[in-house]
Each structure stands twice: as structure tokens, then as C-alpha cells.
């Protein structure tokens, strides 16, 4: 259905599975890659071909540009989809793919370089007539420069990785006393995540909402905005819940943000799918934050509201097709909410967890969609992002979407390791969240809850009985992992 025939998916987990699905829908062959930690992974089994590219450590596998390009060429691919994370915003990868004569499913390297440098992106936004939060227009030379800048814009300030994105290398600094420690940690994280410790800083906008606008652009000068997502429910600058429409966003504000995003995209010569992130203050002031030059984790929220397949659109415009619609053709209907189920112990303060999926039940029914790569017996690797699954719900209005989200969480079981599900169950009943009254401070202010989940009469008795039984059973063996089937077989033969 597109000019593309065979795609290398340079990623893993739920997003690799998500991309494989659209490859099938478009009649393209999907080639998976996997590290030694992912031998049994679902994306390997659902792909048409799969190649081992190295040990678990990302640098030696999912971040190894040469290996990925080599596999794409060897397996006869004509395109490469980077997913999100890993190399998705790495301009060198985009150029290497292009240099190998393959189609990169994302914006060109030049655009990635331009927007990947957060300070340059800020300047570009300002030139496009979009307000930016007061801060430094260049990366900070050193701690001293940071002190000066912080004093100028005034505390509290936000330290950010200059090459950053995705919340890594970010620290809130409320007083001058905290600056040095935060500087150390943030630049350390930035170096680890992006290869450069460079930081810049902005004034911290308290009580602001994190609202982002989804864009799609083709090679023929068409740029269309598809709708916003409110991603203010975050912890450690990592998103937990995203929804569209934003509870605080009316048609006028939506159009303003959409228009601003398109202006920035046009000025940057943007191509393919992308997201422009904004901070929206209590009085509706809109500040540019950054551009994510890739598919977002939360893209299904926009898919449910618009009925579009964003990954399919990525492939079409990457293949040179024109967008099949104009701005006025985009239909938005109802409300969608995404809940990120992560391998983090929510009651324990979102401490990353690991383990084996001992029991899995995913929700279904009206308005419920789940994106995941889980299966019973799966060992959750500690080397990668803790995202386990995305529960995405749609309803004709926000109240219906909320009710369906509660129902979906109630049906979901992920046993064997701690997860973020308890947070979602709690938040979906939180009066402020239900009323749409929340900003980026929500999680800190509402979690952990004052009192643990309550059980009434028979539930409490039942739980007590099961607690006794559970202490008596041995850990049930989970069949899984690399089989030594042939060796077993041979040994048995010898005995016969």
C-alpha cells in the first residue's frame, strides 16, 4: 500500500510490536532486532525476521548504529523505523540510514540536529513568534555561569540537558544552596543519556500544565496539527497519564497552540510525525518547551480521538506520499486517556522493579485498547525503559472515558512484580483529577495516598484466608527461557 516493502524496526518492547502491527496492515514485511535479554520477546516472535544484535547493554545492541544499519541492508529492508527512545532522536542514526540508501521513518537528520539542541530550538520558537520561558539561550559554560543565570531569572529554576528530552537530566532547583548538587546529578544524567553533560536553565513555571500538540507533515509542504494531549501527570518528569482533549483546553486555546506548533514546524522545515511541547500557565499563558522529533509513547491517545493510525501516516509521508487530508478534514471525537503501566513500585514511591510476569490479564471491551509486549513467564529486563503496557481508553465524553479507564484498571492483573497500577486506580478516583484540576505538581501533591486502599467486610476476610494460603505455596515454576530441548532429547535417546 506504500512504496515501502520491508521495514527494520530499530526498537523493542511494546513500540516494536505496535510498529509491526501497522507494517502488517500496510502489507510490509517487518524485521525485528533483539539483544540477548530479548531472545524470547514478543516483538521477535511477531516479526517476519529477527536478528540478534548483541548483549543486553543498549550501547552494544539497540544503540549500535552500525549493527542496525548492517542488519537493515543484509535483510534487504528499504526503510528503518526508530520507534521512540534509543536512537529515535539521534541525527547520526538518521544520516547513517540515509547514507545506506534506506528511508528513515522520521524527520531528516538536519531537522533533528536543529531541534535536538534545546537552546537552538528555543531561539527558533522565539523567531517563529512563540513565547519561551525566560532562561538561557545558550548551553551553560559551567556552574558559575549557572549561578549567574539563575540569579538573573530568579529561583526556582529548572536545569535541563541541552541535548536532552524525555525528562532525563532535568532538576528543579528551588534555592541557590541546591544548585551545585543538582548541577552534578543533572549533568551526570545528561552525559549518560545523551553523551554530553551540557545543561541550560529556565525559570520554573509553577502550577503550569504540560500540554503538547501532535503534528504530521509531508514532503510537499503540508503541515497539519491533530490535537493536543495534556501530559501534566508526571513523576521525575516522566509521564504517567496523558489525555486528549486537555480538560483545560478550549477550542480557542487549541487553535492557538496548534497554530504555534505549525509555525515552529514550518520554520524548522519539519517532516513526518512530531510533537511540540508547551507549558500552559494558570492564566493560559503559552510557553514553548521543546519539539520531540519522533513518535510519542502517548500517540494512541490522538489515534483514538481522530481515528487515524499515526504510524501508518509516518510510513506514507516517509515514502513521499501527500497527507491524505487537510487541516479542516481532521475529525476529533470524544475523549481518550492513556495510563502507563510501568515496572515501578508505585506504593513504594515508584522505585523501579524487576521480576517475571507470573500472571497476566489485560482488559478489553468497549472503548479499551492495550499496547504491550507482555506474556506470562516473561522476565522484565532491568536494562531498558520500565514501561510494561499502555491502557488507552476512549469515550464519547471525558466522564465516559474515566469510567471505562476505572473499569479497565479493575480488570487488569500484572502479577510477579510491583507496578504503577495502584497509582492509576487511586488517581482515577481522585476528585481533583476527575474534575480535571491538575498540573505538573499533581503527583507530588497526591501520591502516595494518606491512607492505603480500604477493604470492606467480606473482602477483608477473604484476603485474610488467601494470605494464609499464599504463605503455604511454593513459588510456582514458570516455564520460560531458552530451551535445551535438543540436549534433553539426545540424552533421553541415549537412555532408551
Amino acid at each position: 500500500m506504500t512504496a515501502l516493502r520491508k521495514v527494520l524496526i530499530a526498537n523493542r518492547g511494546e513500540i516494536a510490536v505496535r510498529i509491526i502491527r501497522t507494517c502488517r496492515d500496510l502489507g510490509m514485511a517487518a524485521v525485528a532486532v533483539y539483544s540477548e535479554a530479548d531472545r524470547d520477546a514478543l516483538h521477535v516472535r511477531l516479526a517476519d525476521e529477527a536478528y540478534l544484535i548483541g548483549p543486553a547493554a543498549p550501547r552494544e545492541s539497540y544503540l549500535a548504529i552500525d549493527k542496525l544499519v548492517a542488519v537493515a541492508q543484509r535483510s534487504g529492508c528499504d526503510a528503518v523505523h526508530p520507534g521512540y527512545g534509543f536512537l529515535a532522536e539521534n541525527a547520526d542514526f538518521a544520516s547513517a540510514v540515509k547514507a545506506a540508501g534506506l528511508c528513515f521513518v522520521g524527520p531528516p537528520a538536519g531537522v533533528q540536529r536543529l531541534l535536538g539542541e534545546k537552546t537552538r530550538a528555543r531561539r527558533l520558537a522565539a523567531e517563529a513568534g512563540v513565547a519561551v520561558v525566560e532562561g538561557t539561550s545558550e548551553a551553560l559554560r559551567d556552574l558559575a555561569a549557572a549561578r549567574t543565570a539563575a540569579t538573573r531569572v530568579g529561583y526556582p529554576v529548572m536545569l535541563k540537558a541541552a541535548a536532552g528530552g524525555g525528562g532525563k537530566g532535568m532538576r528543579v532547583v528551588r534555592t541557590a544552596a541546591e544548585l551545585e548538587a543538582s548541577w552534578r546529578v543533572a549533568s551526570g544524567e545528561a552525559a549518560g543519556a545523551f553523551g554530553t553533560p551540557d545543561l541550560f536553565l529556565e525559570r520554573l513555571v509553577d502550577g503550569a500544565r504540560h500540554i503538547e500538540m501532535q503534528l504530521i507533515a509531508d514532503d510537499h509542504g503540508n503541515v497539519v496539527w491533530l490535537g493536543e494531549r495534556d501530559c501534566s501527570v508526571q513523576r521525575r518528569h516522566q509521564k504517567l497519564i496523558e489525555e486528549s482533549p486537555g480538560p483545560s483546553v478550549d477550542a480557542a486555546l487549541r487553535a492557538r497552540i496548534g497554530d504555534a506548533a505549525v509555525r515552529i514546524a514550518r520554520r524548522a522545515g519539519y517532516r513526518n510525525a512530531g510533537t511540540v511541547e508547551f507549558l500552559v500557565g494558570e492564566r493560559g499563558e503559552v510557553f514553548f518547551l521543546e519539539v520531540n522529533t519522533r513518535l510519542q509513547v502517548e500517540h494512541p491517545v490522538t489515534e483514538l480521538v481522530t481515528g487515524l493510525d499515526l504510524v501508518a501516516l509516518q510510513f506514507r509521508v516517509a515514502a513521499g506520499e501527500r497527507l491524505p487530508f487537510t487541516q479542516d478534514d481532521v475529525i476529533r471525537r470524544g475523549a481518550a486517556i492513556e495510563l502507563r503501566v510501568t515496572a515501578e513500585d508505585a506504593p513504594g514511591g515508584f522505585v523501579p522493579a524487576s521480576g517475571t510476569i507470573a500472571l497476566l490479564r489485560l482488559p478489553s471491551g468497549p472503548g479499551v485498547r492495550v499496547e504491550h509486549a507482555l506474556f506470562e513467564g516473561m522476565r522484565v529486563p532491568t536494562e531498558y525503559d520500565p514501561l510494561l503496557a499502555k491502557i488507552v481508553v476512549w469515550g464519547e465524553d471525558r466522564a465516559t472515558a474515566l469510567a471505562r479507564a476505572r473499569r479497565a484498571v479493575r480488570e487488569t492483573i500484572v502479577a510477579g512484580l510491583p507496578t504503577s497500577l495502584a497509582f492509576h486506580a487511586h488517581t482515577l478516583d481522585d476528585p481533583d483529577f476527575v474534575a480535571g484540576r491538575y498540573d505538573t505538581g499533581f503527583v507530588a501533591a497526591h501520591w502516595p495516598p494518606a491512607s492505603p486502599a480500604e477493604l470492606e467486610g467480606t473482602a477483608l476476610t477473604a484476603a485474610a484466608l488467601v494470605a494464609v494460603l499464599a504463605t503455604r505455596v511454593r513459588a510456582s515454576h514458570v516455564a520460560n527461557g531458552v530451551a535445551t530441548a535438543w540436549q534433553r532429547t539426545a540424552r533421553e535417546d541415549a537412555l532408551r
Binding site: G188, G348, P352, A415, A425, A462, A470
Partner: protein, 165 residues
């Protein structure tokens, strides 16, 4: 056999008599109890109310009861009797364990230090995030096994603290 059971904030006594009958806080309960997944999931029907209970994690025990996560524990009276002694003996002693496998990026204390409650003891990197492990109480670091750059398993003891007033 009697068990001291804790579910969320509640303490209950569960007794199982030789006839296989269960009593909760002395009251016999007539529950229809089905094991749906061996050692992992049960269905309990009690007074018509139906409860689906899943063992989420074993250590520490966390149960999912009709979609609600609760911490729980059950200790039989003999184990209890046995453990009391050690508890006494161990009172005020705290082991700092790695919550998950990872790489020790930083150690902020040395043996003999007195640390305040919530003071960062070391930084463990796992899943691309840095996690500060903090002191549960004001205490002295009586033993320190953590070394920077060390790759540790989940549950590994990183330090032993002795509570100080």
C-alpha cells in the same frame, strides 16, 4: 493451626482446625474458595459477595483484591514464637537492601557515620534512572558493603545501620 494475619491496616487471627474449617477472629467462615491459578489466584465467594484475589508479589506479600492492591502477611504461631526472640535481639538494627538489581553510581557515607532519617546513603542506577537509597531512621552505619561501580542483585545487603536516638 493459628495465624496472625495482617491485611492493609487490619490485624486478624485466622485459625484452621483439623477438620479443615477456617475461623477468622474466632468466627467460622463458610466460604466457597476456588484456586483459579495454582498458588497465584483464588476466588472466594462469601455471603454471596465474590472476591477475586491474586498474589501480586510474595516477598513482601502484596495481594490484589478485586482490583485493590493491599499489603498482607500471615505468620503461623510457631514461626511467630521462633521469630520473636530474634526480633528482640535485632531491635534497632536495620539492613539497607538493594530494591532491585542495578549499578551503584555513588556511595554518600562511610562506616561509623551517623546519618539522619531520610539521608541519602547511596545512588543505585537501574532502568536508566538514578535512585537514592535513604536511611529509614537516624542511625549509625555499622557495616558498609556498598562500593561505587558495584553491580548488585535485588535484595543484596548494602549496609547495616544501628538506630540511634
Amino acid at each position: 493451626m493459628r495465624y496472625e494475619v495482617r491485611v492493609a491496616d487490619h490485624a486478624l487471627g485466622v485459625e484452621i482446625d483439623t477438620g479443615g474449617r477456617a475461623l477468622v477472629d474466632g468466627e467460622a467462615v463458610a466460604a466457597q474458595l476456588d484456586e483459579i491459578v495454582r498458588g497465584r489466584q483464588w476466588q472466594v465467594v462469601l455471603e454471596g459477595r465474590t472476591h477475586e484475589i491474586t498474589l501480586l508479589t510474595r516477598e513482601p506479600m502484596r495481594l490484589l483484591v478485586d482490583g485493590r492492591e493491599v499489603d498482607a502477611s500471615a505468620v503461623d504461631e510457631r514461626a511467630l514464637a521462633a521469630s520473636r526472640g530474634t526480633r528482640q535481639h535485632a531491635s534497632g538494627r536495620h539492613e539497607l537492601r538493594a530494591p532491585m538489581p542495578g549499578l551503584l553510581r555513588a556511595v554518600h557515607v562511610k562506616e561509623g557515620d551517623i546519618v539522619e532519617r531520610d539521608a541519602p546513603l547511596c545512588t543505585l542506577e537501574a532502568m536508566k534512572m538514578e535512585n537514592e537509597l535513604r536511611a529509614p531512621v537516624r542511625a549509625r552505619v555499622v557495616r558498609l558493603d556498598a562500593r561505587v561501580g558495584m553491580k548488585v542483585e535485588g535484595g543484596a545487603v548494602l549496609a547495616v545501620l544501628s538506630e540511634v536516638e
